[in-house]
Amino acid sequence: MGAKMVDFNGWDMPVEYPAAIGCGIINEHMAVRTGVGIFDVSHMGDIRLAGPQALAAVQDISMNDAARLAVGQAQYSALLYPSGAFVDDVIVHRLGEDEYLLVINAGTREKDFNWVRDNTGQFDCTVENLSDDFTQIAIQGPKGVDVLQKLTDADLSAVKFYWVTRGTVCGLKNILIARTGYTAEDGFEIYVPADEAGSARVWKEILSAGKEFGLVPCGLGARNTLRLEGKLPLYGHEISDTINVWEAGLDRFCKMEKPEFVGRPALEKAKSEGVTRTLVGLEMVERGIARDGYKVLDSGGREIGYVTSGSPAPFLKKNIGLAYMPPEFAALGASVKVEIRGQGVGARVVPTPFYKRPKKNL
């Protein structure tokens, strides 16, 4: 489709689609916020755990409480190292009585699968790497439901956010449809068989069905600006194998009332010691764009932290960033500086998420 391509962890992926077809990062971003956009996210990985002790296995390797999931329900969670730091973040879907699907990041496919397989041997369940079996397409935005409904017999109005269903999609039977996404908007992710011809046909049919809604294809560029506005973490930036759950501010997804899970003892200890750095939202006050890796300085020019992710925010029309810094500098409204090409440029600490989608009137 003429997109600008880039190598993303070994995957050839679009950064943005051409301006000539109404795309480009800003247009793609705005389409998702106000209408609908689609992303080919097949690079994501899929691990299936099934069997009598599948739940026990999931509970042990992830920090959220999967026992709360009804069949058809999903939750945001993370796989942790014994240190309490992140192997990866993940969406756990309960597909059946004893069947769970973990959808994980592309860059960590191998690592995650090996980790899951090596840490669940003691549980009576199978662990399968289904990453190559699926083409995953995300249809995101307030009009996403309208587009997908044209292509499926599943009643999407009955699927609440973070729930899944199965239905025929573009003539393909028994397709997993999840009301999930990485854009801080309503939307769906569909998992179709990975054969190229079938996948290309589905992509084209979605583009066609979406025309009347102004649907555009979206690349990694918009994917990043959308998730940043919503303060959704990106592995290697806000979360990593050297950052723990408390520092990342993901407390509400970490159920310490679960008596045992990998990382729990370290997290207990870390909680009692308190954090030395915390993730905050920054908004540029003076002219300049904070970017990944830039230093954060206090008003006296001393280095106090760093930007994990920074970019212009197309919907908010501000330049924003997420950064780690010591808690004492993290009060809302506090003034800091971001070092941009050797100069300290004024920014302030703001509440996050930067953007929250409007609630639909029920």
Partner: protein, 129 residues
């Protein structure tokens, strides 16, 4: 695309349009197309000295920061204030959106720059990779 013949071009995708010792500098259509939506332009102050081939500012798209390279040496006499509030003008009209105006130190430097035809060829060859 046919590049305007009233100016010279560089391999860093800048253009320079001279009128006697006064010259205006901007970036080409190819540059703006490669960059995508331009959201920020950082220019030197009036009075700054530009040295041919050296960086003199930056242009930022959503995803990336790119350096601007001076096509020729000279002193900055004016900067385009519009670009501070409307950087997207560079995307819409790259050859009409000058970034800085300078007084040329050595107008002869322009002789070694690319003509419109040579630049077009250069862009086509680059794309061939």
């Amino acid at each position: 695309m046919a590049y305007p013949t009233d100016r010279k071009y560089t391999k860093e995708h800048e253009w320079i349009q001279a009128s006697g010792a006064a010259a205006a500098i901007g970036i080409t259509d190819h540059a703006q197309e490669s960059l995508g939506d331009i959201v920020f332009v950082e220019l030197p102050t009036v009075g700054s000295e530009l040295a041919a081939g050296k960086t003199f500012g930056t242009v930022e798209s959503v995803k990336a920061v790119s350096d601007l390279y001076a096509p020729a040496s000279g002193t900055v006499t004016e900067t385009n204030a519009e670009l501070a509030t409307s950087p997207e003008k560079v995307n819409k009209d790259p050859h009409g959106s000058w970034m800085v105006k300078i007084t040329l130190k050595n107008p002869g430097e322009l002789d070694r720059l690319l003509s419109a035809a040579d630049y077009e060829k250069f862009v086509a060859e680059e794309a061939g990779h």
